[in-house]
Subunit: 181 residues, 2 copies
DNA sequence: CTTTGCTCTTGAATGGCATACAAGATGACC
DNA sequence: GGTCATCTTGTATGCCATTCAAGAGCAAAG
């Protein structure tokens, strides 16, 4: 099956591409990284990237999915932990992507693909958090609301510089207030 | 005093400029609004703007300050209200600037002026919220932490689409959890 | 072995962008 | 009437995402 062979090559190439793009996006930011720069780093012409991705935003989606799938691999390590520890873990996971989180929010209005990715991401995260809360004995409606609050807190902590103590205090307070005694 | 006269003219011109820039930023977004577009709308050459502002980011700061000062005028109308109502008011105030809020966060890393404005803004808001919470009998340390949480919740609600019921539920829960019985 | 056709890459271009610079216009003060 | 600061503009630069049409490489079909 030559078709298959080609598909594999495609995936391999996309992987190199996204790997380079990820590194640059994380170090220089999305706006600070030009398509030309990514291409130069890969040793190809700038427009080559457009054979693989229709736009810079689609490349960003590829990068985000890549980051997400790596995070998902590490997810099982915390399923048994407390709510507070789970949130602290999420913060550590996304800390290096802080800037990309802000970029995603800023591009929501301008890019359909980003909006779709963002919405899907939130649906996934909220479902997971709701599940956790329900397992801890929180009623369904309330769990949904608290899941939203939890994600807002994580996003807020990611977006704003803060001390370890502040983070600790916020997570501690949220856990206490959210969970039944 | 001719100096004074000129200063007044300057302020008037800046005001027209920021008024137009505000309208465009709010309707088309920061990235969707080019300096050229603003200039065209004002009937001047694009580079004229650079006599008044050193950069597009500085113009944005002007716009943000303008919005803020308008909000400050309305601030006294809610000093007597409950924490929950205050937060709902803040959400209504900033709702039309949703996109700019995201822009500010996205540009934090790239623009020093934006970063300074943002930090100052947060210091101001947190101080105000802490004051309110302390008046409601919350201890100082705890008030500081809750003020941060409160702003994160407002920012989260601004950044993410939600129903009236969700908003209501979140604000209600936060008020109950934050304030002493 | 050659032709066809698909996948991938490129050169060259387009239009837009924020911004810089130096030359002008305007109007106040000496 | 000339000088000076304030304001405006023409023109240009370099960067950007993206497009398009032309090619290179290579597999399958004849």
């Amino acid at each position: 099956m030559a078709k298959n062979k080609r598909d594999i090559d495609l995936k391999v190439k996309q992987d190199e591409l996204e790997s380079t793009a990820t590194r640059l996006f994380l170090s220089l930011g999305y706006d600070g990284t030009s398509m030309g720069r990514i291409a130069r780093e890969l040793g190809v012409a700038p427009n080559t990237l457009y054979w693989y991705y229709a736009s810079k935003d689609e490349l960003l989606v590829g990068v985000l999915n890549r980051q997400m799938s790596q995070t998902l691999v590490r997810l099982p390590t915390i399923v048994e932990k407390s709510l507070k520890e789970k949130m602290a873990w999420a913060l550590r996971e996304f800390e290096q992507s802080r800037e990309l989180v802000a970029t995603v929010h800023a591009r929501l209005e301008q890019s359909e693909v980003i909006r779709e990715w963002h919405d899907q991401f939130h649906r996934f995260v909220e479902a997971a958090v709701i599940h956790t809360l329900q397992a801890d004995g929180v009623a369904k409606e309330r769990a949904a609301m608290l899941a939203t609050v939890g994600t807002f807190l994580v996003e807020g902590l990611l977006a704003h510089p803060h001390s370890e103590r502040q983070r600790e205090a916020i997570l501690q307070w949220f856990s206490e207030s959210a969970l039944p005694a």
